[in-house]
Amino acid sequence: MHFDSLSDFFAMGGHAFYVWWSYGITFVLLITLTVVSVIKRKSLLTQIAQQHEHEKKLKQMRKDKKKNES
């Protein structure tokens, strides 16, 4: 290891602010994009399923209506 101690490592030779901020922001941005993408998949699937259910109900209703009429 290049640094003598852990506190040395975190201090980054007095430039901790710059180093940790840039790594932190990168990490946060990438995680955000990942999470958003994964959540989108869930919501998409729910939406598609709901739409399908809705259409099924509509079909059923139409069938029932026809039965009642005849």
Binding site: F9, G13, Y23, R41
Partner: protein, 248 residues
């Protein structure tokens, strides 16, 4: 020779392929990035002039180099979709845009943070910086256009036209900005002159670039799967998947 490719023009097959590839890409990127970041942050020697804060290079350079490649990949996908009318290429292009925009943002932000100690200022109207800022604007335009249409296929075609116009413009922007910069700039900025990086510094960088590439692959695959689902929402296999996973 091309026969083995044909089945993948079917959305379902491609979706499955993306699903099988996804964990491998994800695992490779996590492993590579962990190694690269830890090596870069803790084990690589410090730089002569910049001491420790040069370590920003291990995320800045991968993000910057790959953000341009992602744009070219997006343009290639658009071209494929226009020439061969391949709908999956549209999905790929739409999946790539937010990933590229995020990478460009990372490159700009880390660059600004890095600039503060090394140049004494976070932002200079340097040729590189300006052209990356414009690249970000191009990405944002493509994303905005992708979201502006209700019809996904239509949105892709519109965004595709803009992507190609952007490709024509990227070299023009690059050279214009470079020229503009040299014409106007009076104070020369001492740039980080790396006297051909030592191998101990270079290795983590190369590992991180590969790790970033795999991570881009992972994110693109996730988003590609979403796009395929959204574009094929009326297909039986999607509905089956949705009823299985969607409502719980």
């Amino acid at each position: 020779m091309w026969k083995w490719l044909h089945p993948y023009a079917k959305p379902e097959r491609s979706y499955q392929l993306a699903s099988t590839l996804l964990p491998w890409f994800a695992i490779s990127s996590v492993i590579l990035l962990t190694i690269g970041v830890v090596w870069g942050l803790a084990f690589a020697p410090s730089e002569a002039y910049q001491k420790e804060y040069y370590r920003i290079i291990y995320i800045h350079v991968p993000a910057a180099t790959l953000s341009m490649s992602v744009y070219m990949a997006m343009a290639t996908a658009v071209l494929i979709s226009m020439v061969w009318q391949l709908k999956l290429a549209d999905a790929t292009a739409a999946a790539l845009a937010p990933v590229g925009a995020t990478l460009t943002t990372i490159a700009l932000i880390t660059g600004a943070i890095w600039g503060a100690p090394s140049w004494g200022t976070s932002w200079v109207w340097d040729a590189r910086l300006t052209s990356y800022l414009i690249l970000l604007f191009l990405y944002l335009g493509v994303i905005a256009l992708n979201n502006a249409f209700d019809d996904k296929a239509l949105a892709s075609r519109a965004a595709g036209i803009l992507t190609l116009v952007g490709v024509v413009n990227i070299p023009i922007i690059k050279y214009s900005v470079e020229w503009w910069n040299t014409l106007h700039q009076t104070a020369t900025i001492s740039k980080f002159d790396s006297p051909s990086m030592s191998t101990e510094m270079l290795w983590p960088l190369l590992i991180n670039i590969t790790g970033f590439a795999f991570m881009i692959g992972t994110l693109t695959l996730i988003r590609f799967k979403n796009e395929v689902l959204a574009r094929n929402s009326m297909r039986p296999w999607v509905i089956e998947l949705a009823t299985k996973e969607g409502i719980k």
